[in-house]
């Protein structure tokens, strides 16, 4: 019996059933870094901690919908993805924000002179992927989720996850080899 596997789900049940704030705090501590890096790799160079806050707030709001049959990480990334989609919509609505964002990216890229060229290459290559492909790489490679869970989070068939991952890896390889 592996207790560690069930701990997240057990804590989430405590949050759902008895509004257990200690259990919620434990979940935040365990997963905030994962979610922060999720947004960071989605090219959010500023305000990514605010998106992490929104994700956990959403997790709390939707706690009554949590079912034990779902892994907590699946549920959490569903929330994070929705927060990311809302954020993109917001950015599209406010056009000048997009410009500011682009400037911000340039500023942060410039400030990263101490970071190795290799890392910059990978970051740059990831940015060249479409959102759909990047999301599959993020969940499959960086977060290590199995394809079944990625399919649940992105609400697409598992076969599509597979083909997107293959195309993403091939594209990344091509970009990096060019450099």
């Amino acid at each position: 019996m592996n207790l560690h596997l069930s701990e997240d789900e057990f804590l989430m049940e405590r949050v759902r059933d008895v509004d257990d704030r200690f259990a919620f705090e434990e979940l935040v501590k365990r997963h905030q870094k994962k979610i922060l890096n999720f947004f960071y790799r989605c090219s959010v160079q500023y305000g990514n901690e605010d998106l992490v806050q929104q994700t956990f707030l959403r997790l709390y709001r939707y706690r009554l919908k949590y079912k034990r049959s779902a892994k907590l990480t699946t549920f959490l990334f569903l929330m994070a993805r929705q927060v990311w989609i809302d954020e993109l919509r917001k950015r599209k609505r406010v056009q000048h924000l997009k410009r500011e964002f682009a400037e911000e990216v340039v500023r942060t890229s410039r400030s990263k002179t101490s970071v190795s060229d290799a890392r910059l290459d990978i970051t740059g290559a990831l940015e060249k992927l479409s959102d759909d492909m990047r999301m599959v790489v993020e969940l499959g490679v960086f977060q290590g989720l199995p394809y079944g869970e990625i399919a649940e989070v992105l609400k697409i068939p598992q076969g599509t996850v597979k083909s997107r991952m293959f195309n993403a890896l091939r594209k990344l390889r091509g970009i990096l080899e060019e450099k």
Partner: protein
């Protein structure tokens, strides 16, 4: 299927190798750390949100038209129900129906199946044990049903001594089944089962004497009180190993009670739960009966619980624990009053905090048990 297996499946080995190198490079990318205050910021936002929602709901409750409408609807429903179902059952009939229903709903193998009665299957051992205990204590002729349930529970013990489940289910199942096996009789096979069950409880005890909702997590008053109660009953059945870890657990509960901390499911909540006060207080009084100081402390804890019914939050587990604890310290009138209030709660399983966990098995066992104290 994950990315590694996907790559292994690729037809072109050179491409697979290139992808492996690429995913390794990606995985090695450094990550950023969250700022130190992020956790507390998130918790503050959640607290703010839940407070706003509470205020919002309260503002509706105090609107006169809303109150009048709600009252009218309640009166209409009560009258309609009285018309449709005239109240003819005496409380004696209710006693009979709860017990009889439990006896009738036992499965062939001796268990009770929670899924059939609105409960959660993961708590099957606990609910089987509680149903058997209710029948055992009821004083009716249910010895066959109880023995069958005992055989079922003994057969379900795993090689490590546990009765199954994960996380909190594991600890509730373990304590409740151990307690009930110890309380409902003794046999050679049961003694062996109890020995193994006690060893398992012992193996999961934290250094400070407590047990938490999961192995290695912070001590919980609820879980610790249940384990101490189980160990105390096992000790009375001659299980020698139970003594030392029971004393350690008892000391932990005593320290919590004497430090002025509130009794709740969570040690850090700062709130007080009548359920846990009644449970832990009872355990301090009974398991700590050899230690006058601990027993006296338990009496104080029990004396602090509210006797009036919290009609907004039906909770038969809480009420049953209250009846038992009040009776244990000689407050018979208080216990009687809680019992009467329990009779009034008839079909509110859906709103009961534990209704979804135990369904009608929980409801019938709690009603039956409360009447036996």
């Amino acid at each position: 299927m994950n990315v590694c297996r996907h790559i292994d499946e690729l037809a072109s080995s050179s491409e697979a190798q290139a992808f492996r190198v690429l995913t390794e490079r990606l995985s090695e990318m450094s990550e950023i750390e969250p700022s130190k205050g992020l956790t507390s910021l998130i918790l503050k936002r959640v607290e703010l949100e839940s407070r706003c929602r509470r205020d919002h709901l309260c503002s509706y409750a105090f609107r006169p038209w809303f109150g009048a409408l709600a009252a009218a609807v309640v009166v209409f429903i009560v009258l309609a129900l009285r018309f449709l179902y005239p109240a003819s059952d005496s409380s004696a009939n209710c006693v009979l129906s709860d017990e009889q229903w439990l006896a009738d709903s036992q499965e062939q193998d001796g268990s009770w199946n929670p899924a059939r009665h609105g409960g959660a299957n993961s708590y099957c051992p606990s609910l089987t044990a509680l149903s058997a205990l209710a029948l055992y204590r009821s004083g009716g002729d249910y010895s066959d049903a109880v023995q069958q349930a005992r055989r079922y529970l003994i057969s379900k013990q795993q090689t490590n001594g546990s009765f199954g489940g994960e996380g909190r289910e594991l600890f509730y199942n373990q304590a409740i089944v151990t307690f009930v096996l110890a309380e409902t009789g003794s046999s050679v096979s049961a003694i062996e089962t109890l020995n193994n069950a006690v060893d398992f409880i012992h193996s999961r005890q934290a250094v400070d004497g407590s047990w938490g909702y999961a192995t290695g997590s912070e001590g919980s008053q609820a879980i610790t009180a249940w384990q101490v109660q189980a160990l105390s009953s096992a000790k009375k059945n001659g299980i020698v190993n139970a003594d030392v870890c029971m004393r350690k657990g008892l000391r932990w509960l005593r320290d919590i009670a004497s430090s002025g901390k509130q009794m709740d499911y969570n040690i850090r909540s700062g709130r007080s739960s009548d359920t846990i006060s009644a449970l832990a207080g009872y355990v301090l009084v009974t398991a700590g009966s050899d230690f006058p100081e601990i027993s006296a402390l338990g009496r104080n804890v029990v004396a602090s619980i509210k006797q009036q019914q919290d009609s907004q939050n039906p909770n038969l587990y809480r009420d049953c624990m209250k009846v038992r604890a009040l009776k244990a310290i000689g407050r018979n009138a208080g216990a009687q009053s809680v019992k009467k209030q329990m009779v009034a709660v008839t079909d509110d399983i859906q709103n009961d905090q534990w209704g979804k966990v135990g369904g009608r098995l929980y409801y019938s066992s709690m009603h039956t048990l409360a009447r036996t104290y």
